[in-house]
């Protein structure tokens, strides 16, 4: 994970399939594509905005207490997204409310703040968080689409055990692809 500043963070170092971060939303909100899009989109916005803000503040953030500062910034971004969705996308909000509020503790965002945003310039952070966020959204979409598609013939796919099985099969497929001769 030395070089995070190129497109490898979307695919090879994908937050979900390589670092196994953000598995809680990956398993919980992916029963169908539209919920996966809603949570993926919200996470993407919070990831990019909070990381750019943390990068801009990197010389201000006290070295003795970086984590509380990250949480303040990420919490602020998440709460603003929650309020905006309640005001302008209320129907979507009602379906995903619980998972929207816990975007604040998404490990992908915090890990990115600590590994990239605190060290890099605003521009590099912006590019990197867009790529990482795109990788996360793609992972949610992939699991969501697979579960929704399979659940018509196999209702298990839309239940929690189905989430584990399908995410595991996709991870195995990714590993098989990555380690091909």
């Amino acid at each position: 994970m030395s070089s995070m500043s190129d497109t490898t963070s979307a695919w090879r170092d994908n937050a979900v399939w390589h670092q196994l971060l953000g598995l809680c939303p990956l398993l919980a909100v992916t029963t169908n594509v539209s919920d996966a899009v809603a949570i993926g989109g919200a996470t993407f916005v919070v990831l990019v905005v909070s990381n750019v803000a943390i990068s801009a503040l990197r010389n201000f953030i006290p070295a003795a207490a970086p984590l509380p500062t990250y949480m303040l910034v990420i919490g602020l971004c998440t709460t603003i997204v929650v309020m905006l969705m309640q005001a302008y996308a209320f129907d979507v909000f009602q379906r995903v409310a619980l998972f929207l509020q816990i975007v604040v503790v998404n490990c992908v965002i915090l890990a990115h703040a600590d590994r990239v945003a605190r060290h890099q310039t605003i521009v590099k952070t912006l590019i990197d968080s867009v790529v990482t966020g795109a990788g996360f959204v793609t992972a949610l979409l992939l699991v969501g689409a697979t579960r929704q598609g399979v659940s018509y013939g196999l209702p298990l796919a839309s239940l929690p055990p189905g989430a584990f099985l399908i995410a595991a099969l996709l991870l195995a497929a990714k590993n098989a692809w990555a380690s091909r001769a």
């Binding site: 503040l57 006290p62 603003i80 298990l156």
Partner: protein, 185 residues
């Protein structure tokens, strides 16, 4: 950096965040309240089939008795918990002034996906079988009533039927209740 400087910066960050949240809250509060009001009575519209109920004021927590402006009762709405196959099934039940069911909805349940979850209107129209029924109809066809069982889910079907039946029986036997909400004509 000294502890004082760290604390000062954290405090400043907290203050800025609080101010930003206050600002966004002020901008969105009116819209959010309007949205919440818009959906508050949607379940009541569902179980009564009467779109006018979307504009009710006052409490939206059952039991409710919705009356016309002249004070005549139009609908009673109850919640009832039934013991399903996989846990409690919470039912919202609408009854008109002639003790006829206007509609039933399962507002929360844990019934098996693909089988017992047919009580959910997102999965199946089964629960509409209760619409316009009277107390005597509310039993399985095999037991002399008019309701078909969900295939493969007789425990779930019987649980819902018993819940609706008991709630309606209580409503029929109960004295007239005070109006809780009034419909604007």
């Amino acid at each position: 950096m000294s502890i004082a400087a760290t604390a000062w910066r954290l405090g400043l960050a907290g203050a800025v965040v609080a101010a930003a949240l206050g600002g966004v809250d002020a901008l969105t509060r009116a819209r959010i309240q309007a949205n919440e009001q818009r959906v508050r009575f949607v379940p009541l519209v569902e179980v009564t089939g009467d779109a006018r109920l979307a504009n009710l004021r006052g409490s939206s927590a059952p039991p409710l008795t919705v009356c016309s402006v002249s004070g005549a009762p139009l609908y009673s709405v109850f919640v009832r918990s039934a013991r399903g196959y996989a846990g409690p099934i919470e039912l919202l039940i609408g009854v008109d002034a002639k003790n006829r069911l206007t509609g039933v909805r399962a507002i929360s349940h844990r019934e098996t996906a693909g089988i017992g979850d047919a009580i959910d209107t997102r999965k199946s129209l089964w629960i509409h079988a209760f619409d316009q029924r009277r107390l005597a109809d509310i039993a399985l066809i095999g037991d002399g009533g008019s309701i078909d069982a969900i295939s493969g889910a007789s425990v779930t079907s019987r649980a819902v039927i018993k819940g609706v039946h008991d709630a309606l029986e209580e409503a029929v036997g109960a004295p007239p209740r005070n109006c809780s909400n009034v419909v604007d004509e």
